[in-house]
Symmetry: C2
């Protein structure tokens, strides 16, 4: 068990839950949020927490990062740029990660700043815990939110492996499963399995404007539109912030819906829809898969990225940092 001094910038559902989870895991933690009411709520929460797992709340980003070795940027994508400005202004020179749901845009923001100078980061490792909910704000936070969740940590050409392993230790210490992949692969994949589902839910949700439709809407509508209740700002930040990959993934779904259209418009709509729906039924009933017994693999970028490509994950890092405990779906 390592203990790290962590600053969490942004205390919404993800940032606030992370603050509490890190404190519970024994790290020294300090949080900041632009919203004074959120800071007040977080201070009250800290006072009510057990003494050994309290966190602090800073009045500014500069105060938050001054004693931190690691900063977690837990704001919406649109706020990342000003947060990086203020961290640079405060002279922060440690390790940075984030929990933003798109990874290439954040990586580019950091790289542009490093190229322009004025920032003295030791390293940046992009992260994304796959643990969203349709609720928001500090009041909805849960220190157990990440337990059993997948948590992407990006492993790029430029990534320092020791920094990646440090973050992987912190994240696996919260009970999450670390998935090694690149920002590019991450953005392509979450476009398909997370961002496009939000667009489909939103496209469906307005059907209940008709009062009879609102009364007859049942389980398939309820579940198919659940994430349309997500704040439009968050949907926009996810989908608009990942516009290229989301367009590609949306076009794939639109292609399948065009096939469904052709099936409905054919001479034998029942038979044609049955043939069209069969592969989807097979894919959905086979998901989620089980997973292999844990085994040790080398802690090299090649082995870790190969694991990620297979949909595998890391649950622990050996004390010497030479191997990791890995599992994969079977």
């Amino acid at each position: 068990m390592i203990s790290v001094n962590v600053a969490v910038i942004g205390m919404g559902l993800i940032g606030g839950s992370l603050l509490r989870a890190l404190a519970t895991a024994g790290h020294w933690v300090i949080g900041y949020d632009l919203d004074p009411a959120t800071r007040a709520m977080a201070r009250t929460g800290a006072a009510q927490a057990p003494k050994e797992s309290r966190w602090q709340v800073a009045p500014s980003i500069a105060d938050a990062v001054v004693a931190a070795d690691l900063v977690v940027v837990a704001t919406p994508l649109t706020a990342v740029s000003p947060v990086l400005d203020q961290m640079a202004g405060a002279g922060f020179a440690g390790l940075v990660t984030d929990v933003v749901s798109v990874k290439e845009p954040v990586r580019e923001l950091v790289a542009r700043r490093l190229r322009a100078g004025g920032m003295r980061l030791a390293a940046y490792v992009g992260g994304h815990p796959l643990a969203g909910r349709e609720t928001a704000g500090f009041a909805a936070t849960d220190p157990a939110l990440f337990h059993g969740s997948a948590w992407v940590l990006c492993l790029e050409q430029e990534t320092n492996l020791d920094d990646w392993l440090t973050l992987a230790r912190v994240v696996t210490g919260l009970g999450a499963r670390v998935v090694p992949t690149t920002a590019e692969q991450h953005d392509r994949v979450v476009a398909a399995v997370s961002h496009v589902p939000h667009l489909l839910a939103a496209a469906l949700a307005t059907a209940v404007a008709d009062p009879l439709a609102a009364t007859l809407a049942a389980g398939s509508f309820r579940d198919g539109t659940r994430v349309a209740a997500t704040a439009p700002e968050l949907i926009a930040s996810m989908c608009g912030g990942n516009a290229g990959p989301v367009l590609d993934a949306l076009d794939e779904v639109l292609g399948r819906l065009d096939e469904a259209r052709d099936a409905l418009d054919s001479d034998d709509p029942i038979g044609a829809v049955r043939r069209w729906a069969a592969p989807a039924n097979a894919a959905r009933t086979a998901w989620p898969r089980g997973w292999s017994a844990p085994r040790q693999i080398p802690a090299t970028p090649e082995a870790l990225l190969a694991l990620g490509d297979e949909g595998g994950w890391v649950t622990a890092i050996a004390p010497d940092g030479r191997t990791v405990t890995a599992a994969r779906p079977v």
Copy 2:
């Protein structure tokens, strides 16, 4: 409380649950299913049920309908035609309803048969309980399945109001809320809030063919694809059996997704997606609505259909059949 002799043809999730619910409500009930294993399971279930709420299981459709006043056709759409043939062959001359998820096609099958002669039905009243699940078969049946569910009973120009009220008494006696509307309106509305959601779920479900995608898929994928686990035969029967209205509803959703595509492809994708997603968020967070205090309305076709247009429902029928207890969303 009235007691009716009911035959239920088809003992899958809906038919089997109905058999049990009717028996629990004190009706004399007999069931039939084409599948001998289902009949055996239903017989075992009856033997294990409390004596006062047992049902019988018939070896044929003719045996099932011989002593019935009311027959409920609870088969897939594709089996309705042969079931009607056998009912006609057995000389059944009572009241018929069904629980098929599309209403115009069943209405046409019945009307064609009546025009051709050889069928001596007292009346047909189309029905649809909005109480599906992604599980299937007699093993999944639940006598409380309809409690609180909406249950459409079609009220057409040709419908005999007394027959409609008899069925409404039986259905409200199971704890369901009866929604009066026409087959045409029903098919249009369920296309949008039930059938198209199944197509969207199926179009999304194959995304997890990529192993990394299967690992990163979380809540939005799980809920957005839940009904893709429905048997392809059922999805085909619902969507293909209601092809015209489903095409119209699918085109509306495709139109909204094209707007999302334009938003993603614009100069300001985040702002454009936020504006696009806002009405969906408002619609989804306002659903489901609350409802008014119950009040008595006249049991006339005009008043009942106006109630249905407003998304309202009937929870009880006055003993004299002149008024019904109604509520509507507020």
